[in-house]
Symmetry: D2
Subunit: 139 residues, 4 copies
Amino acid sequence: MKNEILESRIVVASYELDSFGHVNNAVFLNYLEKARGDFMTLKGLRFDDFFKWRRYPVVGRAWMEFKYPAKAGDKLLVKGVITKHTAASFTLRYEVINEENRKLVLTGETFHVFVDDNNRPSRIPEEFYEQFIANNKET
Amino acid sequence: MKNEILESRIVVASYELDSFGHVNNAVFLNYLEKARGDFMTLKGLRFDDFFKWRRYPVVGRAWMEFKYPAKAGDKLLVKGVITKHTAASFTLRYEVINEENRKLVLTGETFHVFVDDNNRPSRIPEEFYEQFIANNKET
Amino acid sequence: MKNEILESRIVVASYELDSFGHVNNAVFLNYLEKARGDFMTLKGLRFDDFFKWRRYPVVGRAWMEFKYPAKAGDKLLVKGVITKHTAASFTLRYEVINEENRKLVLTGETFHVFVDDNNRPSRIPEEFYEQFIANNKET
Amino acid sequence: MKNEILESRIVVASYELDSFGHVNNAVFLNYLEKARGDFMTLKGLRFDDFFKWRRYPVVGRAWMEFKYPAKAGDKLLVKGVITKHTAASFTLRYEVINEENRKLVLTGETFHVFVDDNNRPSRIPEEFYEQFIANNKET
C-alpha cells in the first residue's frame, strides 16, 4: 500500500513577492512550514497537539538552494521526505516544483529538535512519531 | 446564470499565528489580497497584467472588524463583493467565515485606486473592469 | 512636564515592499504594532507581562487610510495617542509621517479589548493602565 | 583605519513571534536582509540603485543554524562579513547575537548572484562592488 506522502500545493500570492517580482527567500521557509502543517492535518494531527504534548518542534537548522524564481500565481508543489531521525530530532529534505513548467524551484532541508517547556531537548511525542515520521521515511 | 463570485478558501498556517495562538491582525489583510488574486485567476487575469497595462491598484483605505479568532488549521472562507466603483477606483466588502463552525471571523472593506507609472490616479483598465468588477457587483 | 509619548521610528526594509515597490498595506499594521511595543518598552513593560497578567490585548477593529507611499529606506515616524478607553478596551489613533519630506503617509486607528485565558473580555491590567494608557491620553 | 562594518541592530517585534513565543525561523532571513540593507544605506547606496543599474542581487543559497531562541523585545546584533566573491556573486556569513546576554542566537550564510533584466547572471555593479564588497571582506 502506498504511503501518504508529505506534499503540499501552494499558489503564490502577490503579497509574497518582493520588488523584483519574485517570491522573497524568507517566504519559502513559510512554504516548507505549510507543507509540514498540511501533512500533519492529513495524518490527523493538529498544531495544538504540540501544546497538549507539551513538546514543541524547534527548527535547529535550515538550508535552501534556489534554482528557479517563483512569481505571483505560480502553482508550486512542495514535496518533503524524512531523511533521518533520532529520539529527539528529525530532518526533512524538500523539493519545490513549478507544476506548470516542471522546473525545480528549490531544494532544501530543515532539521528539527523537540524541546519541552524548559526548552530542553526531549523525545519525539509518540503519536507524532507514528503519524508524521514512521510513514514518511525515505526508502 | 449565476455569476462566478469572489471567494477564496484558506487554511490557516502556523507561521501566521502570533504568540497568543491567533492569526495576527495584519495577516488578514493578506488573506483579503489572496482572495482578490484568486478571483483574478478565476477570471483569466494575471497579476502581471497590471504591469502590461501599466496601471496598478493601490490600497487607499482598509477597514477590518474582528469577530472571532482564527487558529492554526482553521478552514476559512473569504467572500468579497464590489460595493462601489468609479472610473478609477473600486470598493470591496468582505466576510471571512470559519467553515467548520460557521462563525463570522471578520468583516472588512478595502478601497482601491488605480494609479499609473507616475503614481497618478488613472482609469480602471478595461479588461480588469469587465472581468473583475462588472461580474462581481453587489445586487 | 511633558509626558513621554507613543512614537516609534522605522526604516522601511526591502522585504516589506510589494512588487509595486511600495510597502504592502498589511505591513503597516505591523508598524502600528511595533509602535505599541516600543512604547511598552519605554514605559518599563514587557510583552511577556501579558502572560504574567493572563490578560491579552486583542485587536477588535483596525482602520487605515493610506496617503502617500512608503519605499525601501524611507524613515518613518509612527505617532499614536489613546483617544478613548473603557474598563476593558482602548482605542489608539495613529499618524505615520515620512521624516524626510514630512509627508503624511498614513492615518489609522486600532481598537483593542483585553481578554482572559477563556477569551472573555476582562479588565485592563492595572500596571498596563497606569503605564500605557494614563500617560498617553489625548488632551 | 578600521572599515565600517556590516552590522545592524534589531529589536524583536511581537508580530515576528510564532505561537511558541519565539521568532519564527523565516523571520531571521528578513533580519539578514535588513542588515544588508542597513549596510547599503551606511555606504551611501539605496535599494533603488539596483533598478538604476538594472542588475539585481538574487539569493541563490541560504543557510542558518539556530543556537538560542529570540523573544519579543530582545535586542539583537546582526553582524555580517563577505567571505567570498566572484565577478557576479558574493557570499556573506552572519552571526546574530543577543546584546543583553551575549548569547549567539544564529550563524548563517547567504550566497547572492547578480542577474540582469532577463534573469541572466551579470557582473556585480561597480559602485556596489566598491562600497559594499571591497570594504567588507573578511581579513
